[in-house]
């Protein structure tokens, strides 16, 4: 046992300083997507909603409803439309009210502009 104790001391401290200081291992984590409204047309929104395996994305009229709680950060939407979806880099997502996890993302001008959204000006 003392041997173990010494090993422990030799090993040194690995403990994160979070929340006092940010932890850089967070950069490795898969994080929920972030969307570029400019690139989100109705067609794109429907494609995203269609590939989302956890039904985190649904289109409600001219709004893309994004349920961060249901999202598993699987990255399929990003793979589907890379131009419109990127990585939010957020991992501090705890909410005390479920509704706060549901985001309403406006679609680009009623979705008139088709395509990848690359030509949509921000």
């Amino acid at each position: 046992m003392p041997l173990w104790f010494i090993r422990g001391l030799r090993r040194g401290v690995v403990t994160t300083r979070y929340p006092a200081r940010p932890d850089d291992s967070a950069a490795l984590l898969p994080t929920p997507p972030s969307f570029r409204p400019g690139a989100l047309t109705i067609a794109v929104a429907d494609r995203l909603a269609q590939v989302c395996p956890s039904r985190a994305l649904t289109r409600e009229g001219e709004v893309l409803l994004y349920d961060v709680g249901a999202c598993t950060a699987c990255g399929r939407c990003r793979a589907e439309v890379p131009a419109a979806v990127t990585d939010s880099g957020q991992f501090e997502l705890a909410a005390t009210i479920r509704a706060r996890l549901i985001k309403r993302i406006p679609l680009a001008d009623g979705g008139r502009a088709p395509g990848s959204g690359a030509e949509v000006s921000p």
């Binding site: 929340p19 956890s54 409803l65 961060v68 598993t72 909410a95 005390t96």
Partner: protein, 170 residues
């Protein structure tokens, strides 16, 4: 969006009161009981790692306890299998008040499983949830943040996030 929304609204005020009561009564020490309502075991692994050297939640005054009688906070994972519902309710009722429930992981929040004959698709319908931690599985860091939000030691960030950004994606 999910069965849980109304419930969570219903318990909002109480959950605020609870958090204050918790802060008052337990100071900065809190005992945690976990509850697996049908998870895939990944959330469990992340929760176990909270006690590991890299995260060491004891330094923040959190402790795990196997006995719900000693627990102040219930970390529930999984989509709440219907057959497990009674056991989950028993566990919650076995805890002394004031008590908090933390829905942990996408399953518990209604992400992976839709309500059907097997599961409730989330725990909100069965237990009054106070804090929701997304992620599949939520990383230990996310869990730490959730716990600290639960006891009111960190402000929640998510309501200020829009998950939209302009400019071309990285």
């Amino acid at each position: 969006m999910t069965a849980g929304t109304d419930t969570s609204r219903g318990v909002k005020e109480t959950s605020e009161a609870l958090r204050e009561a918790v802060a008052r009564q337990f100071g900065r020490s809190l005992h945690i009981r976990t509850l697996d309502t049908g998870s895939c075991a990944a959330c469990e692994q992340e929760i176990r790692l909270l006690a590991a050297p890299h995260y060491d939640l004891h330094r923040l005054g959190f402790f795990f306890t196997p006995a719900p009688r000693h627990a102040d906070l219930l970390m529930a994972t999984g989509p709440m299998i219907r057959a497990f519902g009674p056991a989950a309710r028993k566990t919650y009722e076995a805890m002394p008040g004031p008590k908090l429930v933390v829905a942990t992981g996408a399953c518990a929040l209604g992400g992976v499983y839709q309500p059907d004959a097997f599961t409730h698709g989330g725990i909100a319908g069965t237990l009054p949830v106070d804090v929701w931690i997304p992620g599949c599985p939520p990383s230990p860091l996310a869990l730490l943040q959730g716990l600290l939000v639960a006891v009111g030691r960190l402000a929640e960030k998510v309501q200020d996030l829009s998950f939209t950004q302009n400019g071309t994606p990285r």
